[in-house]
Amino acid sequence: MSDLLEIAGLTKLFPVRNAFGRKTGDVRAVDNVSFAIPKGKVYGLAGESGSGKSTIARMIMGLAKPTAGDILLDGHNITGETGTRAYGRKVQMVFQNPGSSLNPRRTVGQSIEVPLSAHGTPRSEHKRRIDELLEMVQLPTDFALRYPHELSGGQKQRVAIARALAVAPQLLILDEPTSALDVSVQARVMDLLVDLGRQLGLTYLFISHDLSLMRNFADTVGVLYLGKIVETGPTASVFEHPQHDYTRLLLASVPVISAEEEAMRPRIPLIDGEIPTAEQLIALRLNAAPVSQRTEK
């Protein structure tokens, strides 16, 4: 199967400046990250705040410029073209908080119309296409006339999905799409994403810190820590046999609701009776075991 998206050696440095504006160093927000997503599959990027997961999404969307590395879409190197209209027809994004990613002064229909106009859908087609998109995300077509404040969180996220699908993209970047939603609403939005993926043959880049959700949605998962992918592989095998200390700590930290889940969580040694931080744990292990015994990919 061919890869729709391929990321090779992607790196982003942010300059650190002193009080006088002189550059004193760099922060490696994303450090030599490589992965590929086959057509129609879901790649999950798991990481905590500061891991670089959103910066990767922003670079793929063309909202930030990579310091180094390549982004290939359908085999073409498009590193310089991200952010162009032609690119925007192929790659779209659904943001975390639908409350702030929808314009409160536009009706749902007007919001969905923006990408239609921008990408040259004839005006006469707009109404039909908006209705079609609303049906796709299982909302009544008369929602086109409503404003975001009249909608629930789940409904708003459906509108955001409809807007992202307006230009019929191939790749959808989902940045924590359900983290603002109640768990029962989250389940319905995930149902929708899975169904749409099948119907439209979409490829997803799924960014989340929710490992339980990741386990049930992503085909392949990459665990990000301090800008690096520390572990990657088929989701089931990474979750069942985590190799890297950070992956183990992440898994050990998830609050779970059954004994079976509890049994699969790795045991993490306590330091002074407390759960160690990632830095502490990794420092501890580095002292205890030679680096070569640890899997780094």
Binding site: V183, V194, N216, A236, S253, I257, I275
Partner: protein, 278 residues
């Protein structure tokens, strides 16, 4: 249960906004015995926060109005006791750990200032007195109890100088200042990373056990319920739909809403199928 430390009985609350009255709580009852770990779980709009606010006396009236029921603390009804009496209990006998460590701390005062002020007023309400030095000694002591490695440095810091996990620890320390018997925690750690949240939950659990406190954990996260409580109340639309020992609830939920809620939680072991075709 007559011997419960906190007992909410048949609490009904309504809100009136723009001339429209909504019944938000319909006769909620729950018990928090001394030294117990109780969870109150529900999704947004379930009434869990209104219940918590009623207990703490933080409801704004109007628009809110308690239309029935009682909230007994140590056998005395908080709703009918004089404000002065109630003030003596709030923040002293029962304390709250708030959710958002960013917005519950004042950015322009040091941690020592903020904790010192809380302690000063708590002392005043209880008719105790302590000089500045004694107060600081107590602040350092409590910061040590929440496992801060260098309490004096933390006390000198402004909130922005601390990480999210440290700020959440400070909020817990604030709640412990005047040695409460009951700790009410409103989604602690939700705003934090999962590894930090795990640390905070373990800290809370350890503290509650070490110090013999009662814990009322308000949360929407069923995983947090299982990790931190041994008895749970499930709320939906202003009603307690089910209450059981926590282990039993997850083994065999009885209420349809509880069942649906548990079924909606994705499992770390996999096997949660999303999509209509599944």
């Amino acid at each position: 249960m007559a011997d419960a430390l906190l007992s909410v009985r048949n609490l009904s609350v309504q809100f009136t906004t723009y001339g429209q009255t909504n019944q938000v709580l319909h006769g909620v009852s729950l018990d928090v015995p001394a030294r117990s770990q109780i969870a109150l779980v529900g999704e947004s709009g379930s009434g869990k926060t209104v219940t918590m606010r009623s207990i703490m006396g933080l409801l704004r009236t109007p628009p809110a109005k308690v239309t029935g029921g009682e909230i007994l603390y140590d056998g005395r009804d908080l709703l009918t006791m004089p404000d002065r009496e109630r003030l003596k209990l709030r923040g002293t006998a029962m304390s709250m750990v708030f959710q958002d460590p960013m917005s519950s701390l004042n950015p322009v005062f040091t941690i020592a200032d903020q904790m010192g002020t809380i302690l000063k007023y708590a002392d005043r309400r209880l008719g105790r007195s302590r000089n500045g030095k004694e107060r600081m000694a107590r602040v350092y002591e409590v910061l040590g109890q929440v496992r801060m490695r260098d309490p004096e440095r933390v006390a000198r810091s402004y909130p922005i100088m601390l990480s999210g996990g440290m700020r959440q620890r400070v909020l817990i320390a604030m709640a412990l200042l005047s040695e409460p018997k009951l700790l009410i925690a409103d989604e602690p750690g939700t705003a934090l990373d999962v590894t930090t949240q795990a640390q905070i939950l373990k800290l809370l659990k350890d503290l509650v056990e070490e110090r013999g406190l009662a814990l009322l954990m308000i949360t929407h996260n069923l995983g947090v319920v299982r990790e931190t409580s041994n008895y749970v109340y499930v709320m939906n639309k202003g009603v307690v739909v089910e209450h059981r020992p926590t282990a039993e609830l997850f083994e065999a939920p009885r209420d349809d809403y509880t069942k649906a809620l548990i079924a909606a939680v994705p499992r770390l072991t996999g096997g949660t199928r999303f999509g209509a075709a599944a």
